[in-house]
Symmetry: C2
Subunit: 418 residues, 2 copies
Amino acid sequence: MSAKNAFYAQSGGVTAVINASACGVLETARQHPDRIDKVYAGRNGIIGALTEDLTDTSAESDEAIAALRYTPSGAFGSCRYKLKSLEANRREYERLIEVFRAHDIGYFFYNGGGDSADTCYKVSQLSASLGYPVQAIHIPKTVDNDLPITDNCPGFGSVAKYIATSTLEASFDVRSMAKTSTKVFVLEVMGRHAGWIAAAGALAEDHGIPVLVLFPEVEFDQTRFLAAVQEKVERHGFCTVVVSEGAHHPDGRFLAEQGTRDAFGHAQLGGAAPVVANMVKEAFGYKFHWAVADYLQRAARHLASKTDVEQAYAMGRAGVEFALAGHNAVMPTVRRLSNDPYAWEVGEAPLAEVANVEKFMPKEFISADGYGITQACKDYLIPLIQGEDYPPFEHGLPKYVTLQNRAVERRLGLFEVE
Amino acid sequence: MSAKNAFYAQSGGVTAVINASACGVLETARQHPDRIDKVYAGRNGIIGALTEDLTDTSAESDEAIAALRYTPSGAFGSCRYKLKSLEANRREYERLIEVFRAHDIGYFFYNGGGDSADTCYKVSQLSASLGYPVQAIHIPKTVDNDLPITDNCPGFGSVAKYIATSTLEASFDVRSMAKTSTKVFVLEVMGRHAGWIAAAGALAEDHGIPVLVLFPEVEFDQTRFLAAVQEKVERHGFCTVVVSEGAHHPDGRFLAEQGTRDAFGHAQLGGAAPVVANMVKEAFGYKFHWAVADYLQRAARHLASKTDVEQAYAMGRAGVEFALAGHNAVMPTVRRLSNDPYAWEVGEAPLAEVANVEKFMPKEFISADGYGITQACKDYLIPLIQGEDYPPFEHGLPKYVTLQNRAVERRLGLFEVE
C-alpha cells in the first residue's frame, strides 16, 4: 500500500484542547510515514478543502507540533459551515473530490462537534456516491459535551474545570463582600441546549457555596427562582447563580436573546446574566455583580483539565489509528470504565449515529428542585476536571505557539463558497 | 513593654492576594508573642471593630493561616464603609476606643485601598485627639493599582496577569473563528478611574494580537474608535477590544452605567462590553462576542502572579514590623529598584499622603493614538505579572481554606452602625 496524504481540519467553536487533538493526529501520522505522507491542514475547516486553501504541516518542527498540546484555539482556523446534502449541493462534493485528487488525499480527519460530524459523515460517503476512495474519521470536540455515544467530549472537561473554579473563587469573593455590598453574583456560561457547563458551577456547592443553576433543560419560573434566591441569601448571606446562555422561559424565549443568528441559524445569545441580576435586584434590592465568561471559558488553556488534555490527544491519535486500520465513517469515543478510581478507554462510534444527535443532561443528574445537581452528576463530572496541565509561561504569559501555516501550492482554479 | 493585642481587618473590594497579606500579618505577629498577644480580626472590616464583632485568629492552626497565602477573597469578610470625620461622627470614634480598650488592642492593621487608607488614617489620629494609644498601619491592597507613592498595589499584579492571559487566550480563539464567524471580541475589565487593568490586556499585542484598549483616562470618540476597529479587522481579520468599566464619553457619561450607586456614592458600573460590541456590529456588521470578567478577574487566585503574592505577603509582614518599631499612621510600599532584572524593596509612606489620593496611568504609558500602551508601560507591567504561584488542587478544584472564625466574647453593649 503506497502512502497517501491526509487532510486535517478544525470546525465549529474551538476549545482549550482542540489543538491537543491536532497534536495527537499529527504526531501519530508522523510515526507512519510509510502510510501517511503529508498531512495538509485545511485553513478554516472544510472551507480550506473547498477553496484549496491548505497548509503543509510537514513544514512545522516537531517542537511546534508538540506545543499544540498546550495551545488553546484552532491553530489552522475553524469555520461554521455545514455541507448541504449531495442532492442539494453536488457542486461542493465534486469540488472536494477534485481537491482530494489533486493533492492525493486518502484520509480525511475532521475535528469538531455535532454539525461537523455531519459534514464528516457526508464526506465519508464520497467513496460510495462519487467513486473516490477516502476514509473520513471524525475527532470529537465540543465544550458543550453534547455528542452522543462518547461518555464525554474533549473540550468539556477543561471548560468545566474553569467554570467550577471560577464559580468557587468568585463566590468566595461575594461571601467576603456580602455584609455591606454584593449579595448575589450571577455568572453566565455557555450551553445553548445542554446544561453540562452550567452543572459544573454547582461543584462549588461542596465547598460551602450556595449555588443556584439555571439549566436550559429546566423551564425558567421567575417566582420560584426568586424564592430560591431569597432563601439562600437569608440563610447564607449571599448566593451565586450560574445561568446557562440557553436558559429560557416556558414559551421558548431565551432569558436574553440578542436577536441575531449565526451561520447555522442558531440564535446568538448573550446577556442572560444582567437580566437575571436585575430581576433579583428589583425583587429584593440586593446589590449584585454579574459576569459573562464567554470565550474566556473555552479558551482558558491555563486552567485545562489534565484528563481532558489526555483524552483530546488520545482522540486525535485514535483517529489516525482507525484510519490506518482501514476504518471509515467512525469517531473515536471516550468509554468510561469506572468513576472512582476513574478509568476509561478509547471506543469507536459509527458516524451515522453521531451526526446531528444532541445529548442533553439526563434527568437524574438534575436535582429535584431543578437548581442543582445530584450525586450521580458529581460522580460523572469530577473525574473530567481532574488534574492540572499548565502551559509553560514566559515573561508572565503562557507561551502559546502560532504555526507558520505555510501554504500548499494550488493546483486548481478558484472556487467560491456559497 | 507588655504585650498588647492587635486588630486586623480587610476593607473594600477583595483580591486574589489580600489573604496573602493577612497571612503575612498573622505569621509575623505569631513570631512576636512577647509584643503581640492575640490578633483579633474584625468581621467585615471596620464594622467588626465598631460592633465588637471580632474573631480570634489564635484559634486557627498554623496550617490554616499558611493556607491564607493561596486563598483568594477576604477570609474575615470585608466592607464598604468609610468613617466620617471626628467632627461629623464623634460617636463612632468613641466606640472604637471603647472596643480597643475592652480588648486591650494596641495595634490596628487595616488592609485596603484609598478609602480604607482614609479610615486607617483617622484611626491613627485617635491617640492625639481622644487620648487612646493605638498604632494604625495601613496594608495596601487594590486591584485598581491606584494608591499613590507605592510603585504598585498588591492585588493588581494578579488581576493584570489574569487579564493579559485571558485576552491572549480569547484572542487566539477569535483568530480561529474570524473567517466565518466572530471578528471582534470585547472584554470588559475593572477600573473605574484608572486604566491599569485595561492596560494589561494590551500585553497580548506582543504575541501577535491586534488589541484596542478603551481607557478611562482617554475620552471616548466613537468615530475614531470605529475607524481603528475597521483598520485592525481589515489588516488582521479580527480585533480584540479591552474596555475599562470606567471608559466614558467626553461629557462624563460612562459607556454603560446601571444607574445605581454603592455605599461610597460611586456609580455601579457594568455593561460597557455589550455597548461597544453592538456599536461595532451596527457600523460594520461584524459578528462579535463579548465577555465581562467582573469578580472572576480579581478572585482568580489560580492564576496569581508570584511577584504579587510575594509582595502582598511582604506588605503584611512589613506592617507588623513597622508597628513593632513604634511607627504610626504609615503604610508599607513597594519601591521599585530596577525593571530588568526586576528588583524591589519595602518602603514606607505616611498615611496623610496616601488617603484619598488616586494614582492614574501616566500620560507616557498610553500610546499616542490613545488605544494602546507604550514600551515604558510594558516595562512597568511585565515584572508585576512574573511567575506563577498555583494553589494546591484536590478533586479537580483549588483547595482554598475557610477559617473557623471563632467569635471573641463580647464585653460591651450593642452598637448600631449608621
